[in-house]
């Protein structure tokens, strides 16, 4: 088996698994076990991919290309860059944990549920590996379908409103992107991301950026975020904030910035300002949020802002910090949402006024939550600290005040994380916290612990990612392909 096949296997294995789950008349347990097994095999394939990837070499690796619809220069073209490897890894690890969580809590209608989870995994990996704009768009949209049904069927009481908002918001952005893709591709004569020329069109850049900013989400496009993160089942919120949001940021990194260098620098200040606003505003909202999931949801908004600061810093320091932070925050927020689910299962609520005092007699829960809290408030030595430091150092080279705002936000992060920890673990015992509410069970521990372990590993050795991001994919700017000028 050549290494190039690994790229395609990572996309199509979960999708094949989804079909198997749908078609085979298996029992509830067999279905869940099969899904978990497939997602673990997926992790295995990713480890294989990461170990064979040559991080010292820049450029696309393990690429595969096949004709799809040839005449417009559209092909099935997949491959990975250094940073894609890490994001694919984040995806497979987080979705494996979340699939396991769904199995553990025993979601009803298991065949539909697990099939959709696997489909979501495949589509998300596809987003991170596509090297063709139409293929990228297809996977980007394909993520939406399982998410819509997963939230709409297995979500909380106000799930229908949440899904309508979520879908309309994201599709509005995606369709703008489709229009931009059509315009870009027809001018360039190819939809290929690797060979495509750069473009100087500001309109097209905005078409892409709005789609990514909605997905990320970035202020002021975050209207769908609180509802979806609260109403979705906890493991789906974990995937949403841990992985799907990163697809939007990845889009900026892979498409918006390298394909549109001139517009990206033209709008740099505006985007940095929005990102800084998202960072501060999201942190303040997180501090004011009345419930567990609200804090994590708004902190994701803040973190998306921070990562965007790094991406648009225009320096390689900021870029590697952003990639590191994407992975670190993905792991943190996924674990936090899973823990929110764990707490909600015991107390039926996530509201702080009904919670509190859960640390007593529940050491595992307390330890997990404390560890995650400490990492996410970027205590020196943590993965988040390394990421944030690199981002701030990177953006400092742009202008010093961005770094000041970013540093201020770290203080805010400490405020909301400590509030979360004390609201759940400490203070007086909440009215819904029964004595017999159990500690984190071994199965739950087995789901969250690997994510936390990954974080601790990254804390110990952040250079694993930040030194192995590879340069940003530069577009071929040879004299033969002059930059396009578009209206």
């Amino acid at each position: 088996m050549s290494t190039a096949h690994l790229t395609s296997i990572l996309i199509w294995l979960p999708i094949a698994g989804a079909l198997a789950v749908w078609l085979l008349p298996l029992s509830k347990y067999a279905t869940g076990s099969l899904a978990v097994l497939v997602s673990l095999i997926e992790v295995g394939f990713w480890i294989e991919q990461a170990s064979r990837f040559d991080f010292h070499q820049s450029g696309l690796q393990m690429s595969e290309q096949a004709k799809w619809f040839g005449e417009l220069g559209i092909s099935y073209h997949v491959g990975v860059y250094g940073f894609s490897v890490w994001l694919v890894g984040l995806t497979v690890v987080v979705t494996a944990a979340c699939t396991g969580y769904g199995f553990w809590v025993g979601r009803d209608r298991p065949r539909a549920y697990f099939g959709l989870m696997l489909l979501l995994t495949g589509a998300t990996v596809g987003v991170f590996e596509s090297q063709d704009l139409i293929l990228f768009y297809a996977f980007f949209e394909a993520m939406l379908i399982p998410l819509y049904i997963l939230i709409g069927v297995w979500g909380g009481a106000r799930r229908i409103e949440a899904t309508v908002k979520f879908v309309i918001y994201t599709m509005a952005g995606s369709l703008l992107m489709l229009a931009a893709i059509v315009a870009y591709g027809l001018h360039a004569g190819t939809f290929d991301l690797v060979n495509g020329p750069t473009s100087a069109s500001r309109w097209l850049f905005l078409g892409f950026m709005i789609a990514f900013a909605i997905k990320a989400p970035l202020f002021p496009f975050h209207g769908w975020l609180p509802d979806s993160y609260r109403e979705a089942p906890p493991e789906i919120s974990a995937v949403l904030s841990g992985v799907i949001a990163k697809a939007g940021l990845y889009g900026m990194l892979r498409i918006a910035i390298p394909l549109f260098p001139e517009p990206a620098s033209f709008y740099r200040t505006a985007i940095l300002a929005l990102a800084a606003t998202a960072l501060v505003y999201g942190s303040l909202l997180a501090f004011r949020a009345p419930d567990f999931r609200g804090v994590v949801a708004y902190s994701s908004l803040a973190q998306s802002g921070l990562i965007t600061l790094g991406l648009f810093a225009g320096t390689s320091l900021g870029l590697s910090g952003a990639v590191l932070q994407m992975v670190a925050h993905g792991l943190v927020s996924a674990s936090l949402f899973l823990l929110a689910g764990v707490v909600e299962r015991r107390t039926t609520t996530g509201e702080f006024r009904l919670l509190g005092g859960m640390a007593r007699g529940r050491p595992a829960l307390a330890t997990l939550l404390m560890t995650l809290g400490v990492i996410s408030l970027a205590v020196p030595g943590s993965a988040n600290f390394a990421g944030e430091f690199l981002i701030l150092a990177g953006v400092f080279q742009q202008a010093w005040w961005w770094a000041v705002i970013g540093a201020g936000a770290i203080v805010l992060a400490a405020m909301y994380m400590l509030r979360l920890i004390s609201g759940v673990l400490h203070e007086a015992r909440g009215s819904t916290v029964a004595d017999e509410a159990m500690d984190v069970r071994p199965a739950e521990l087995a789901l969250v612990a690997p994510l936390v372990a990954g974080l601790l590993l990254l804390s110990a050795w952040p250079a694993a990612i930040s030194h192995n991001v590879g340069p940003s994919p530069k577009q071929p700017t040879s004299s033969s392909s002059a930059p396009l000028t578009l209206p």
Binding site: W68, F69, F139, A142, I149, V153, T163, I168, A172, A179
Partner: protein
């Protein structure tokens, strides 16, 4: 005095002849076959007829790489005609399977009296459409239009025990006649201006006599566009669509929504491109305006529908709009965009109405968004098929609808009409709301009504038909290259 009959290329007409022959056999069955066996007999005849049509039209496609006009220029034997005939026969085959169990359901045994006539009419309308798509002059155009329209009028009204069916037939007859009259009048004016009825002759005459912009000609083209607009149910000629689609027996609706649109769009493209290439600046703008009107009216009105058949009717209006975006480009890219779009579209349109037919039969009353609740969990296969059709209609990448939309947008952008892309994008966004409404109703609300009990009626053939639609709809996403090659070869006959 001797009459010189033209040389007739019988092979070019073989699809039509096969379908017509099957229609006659089925009609004979109405008289000769005893009542209990009539349904099976005529359904098998219809199936064989469409299979035969499929074989001959594929053969014609392979055998006609260089298009030519045959029978004194009255009929085009080329790949454009053949590909349209292939799609029509495919839809006809699926409709036969659906009608086998679902057309004229037995209520006290009476309705079976007319099942053989039903299949005869289905085959006759298909033959008319197969003739229509190859029309080479205005006379054939009008004759074949009336041919399939009259068959459809009767099919809409055939279930006369049901209140809406008769009304639908009557409405379609009156409004449809209006459309036919417009078309006929337009043909007369064009003949008056150019002195010829053959498509290619018209183009030559316009060029030779410098008739471009001639008032008579322009009014004639406008009336032709309006007449075709009625058949493709594009706004503002769409008024009959929701009522007729709602009232007609659901298998008939499924057939009409897929096949009529194929026939009308394919013919419109050929007529405009062959007869009026010099007037492209006029008709391409006219079709662009009609496209926008269809997109706006179809999508906004669909938002407030609760009856699923009505909602799908408005959705078919909006899809006419999408395909007209491709038509209005007036380029070869637009041609193959429309041809490609028609393949997944007809599969999805047919399939969604077939699923509605299944639900209608088990409820015994019209399907609304409310009584669709829980359907997805009760009938997993039909539920999955329906959501794939709905997401496909909305242009999400689960079917060829995505590629179709991409292609028509590309054609519009290529023709310098970026604003049409913007309108199309906004329309897609609006359409999401009601397409997802169906998915929401099927899966996210608990069942609110107790069904009559017992197992659902047996509908094996319906499942096969929906399966066919599903394979085409999803398969066209993966097999883009071969399908586009087919469409390109077909379009090269016209452009």
């Amino acid at each position: 005095m001797t009459i010189h009959t033209p040389h007739i290329d019988w092979f070019a007409l073989s699809t039509i002849l096969v379908l017509l022959a099957a229609s006659f056999v089925s009609l004979l069955g109405a008289v000769l076959v005893p009542a209990p066996r009539r349904r099976t007999f005529s359904a098998i005849v219809s199936k064989l007829g469409f299979l035969g049509g499929l074989v001959t039209s594929i053969w014609l496609y392979v055998d006609s790489p260089h298009g030519e006009a045959v029978v004194s220029g009255a009929f085009y034997r080329d790949r454009w005609t053949a590909l349209a005939q292939i799609i029509l026969c495919g839809v006809g085959l699926a409709t036969t399977l659906l009608s086998w169990e679902h057309a004229l359901p037995q209520r006290g045994g009476r309705n079976d009296d007319h099942i053989a006539e039903f299949f005869a009419l289905l085959l006759a309308s298909a033959a008319g459409m197969a003739f229509f798509v190859g029309a080479g002059n205005l006379m054939v155009l009008f004759l074949s239009l009336e041919w399939f329209s009259i068959a459809l009028y009767v099919m809409c009204a055939i279930d006369y025990d049901v209140e809406g069916s008769l009304e639908a037939g009557l409405k379609y007859l009156i409004v449809g006649s209006f459309g036919s009259a417009a078309l006929l009048f337009g043909s007369a004016l064009v003949y008056g201006a150019t002195g010829t009825i053959s498509f290619s002759g018209i183009a030559t005459a316009i060029g030779a006599h410098g008739l471009s912009g001639d008032a008579l000609l322009v009014v004639g083209i406008a009336l032709l566009v309006a007449g075709l607009g009625f058949k493709m149910s594009a706004a503002p000629f769409h008024m009959w669509t929701p009522d007729v689609y709602e009232g007609a027996p659901t298998p008939v609706t499924a057939w009409m929504s897929a096949a009529t649109k194929v026939a009308a769009l394919v013919l419109a493209m050929r007529l405009m491109q062959t007869a009026f290439p010099l007037e492209r600046h006029l008709w391409s703008v006219a079709f662009a305006v009609i496209a926008v009107a269809s997109l706006v009216i179809g999508n906004l009105t669909a938002l407030v529908q609760t009856n699923v058949k009505r909602m799908l009717a408005y959705s078919s209006i909006s899809h006419a709009g999408f395909m007209l975006i491709g038509l209005s480009a007036g380029t070869a890219l637009g041609g193959r965009a429309v041809m490609y779009y028609l393949i997944p579209y007809s599969a999805m349109a047919f399939g969604s109405f077939a699923v509605v037919a299944a639900r209608e039969r088990e409820l015994g009353k019209p399907v609304t968004l409310e009584n669709l609740a829980g359907f997805g969990w009760e009938r997993p296969f039909l539920g999955v098929a329906m959501w794939l059709f709905m997401f496909g209609f909305a242009g999400l990448p689960v079917g060829g609808g995505f590629v179709g939309k991409f292609y028509v947008f590309a054609a519009a952008y290529d023709a310098g009409r970026a604003w049409l892309v913007v309108v199309g994008v906004l329309a897609t966004l609006v359409s999401l709301y009601y397409y997802l409404g169906v998915v929401r109703a099927m899966y996210m609300r608990g069942p609110q009504l107790a069904l009559a009990g017992g197992s659902p009626p047996r509908d094996r053939f319906l499942h096969v038909a929906v399966g066919m639609a599903l394979v085409v709809s999803v398969g066209s996403l993966f097999a883009v290259a071969p399908l586009i090659d087919l469409a390109r070869n077909a379009a090269s006959a016209v452009f």
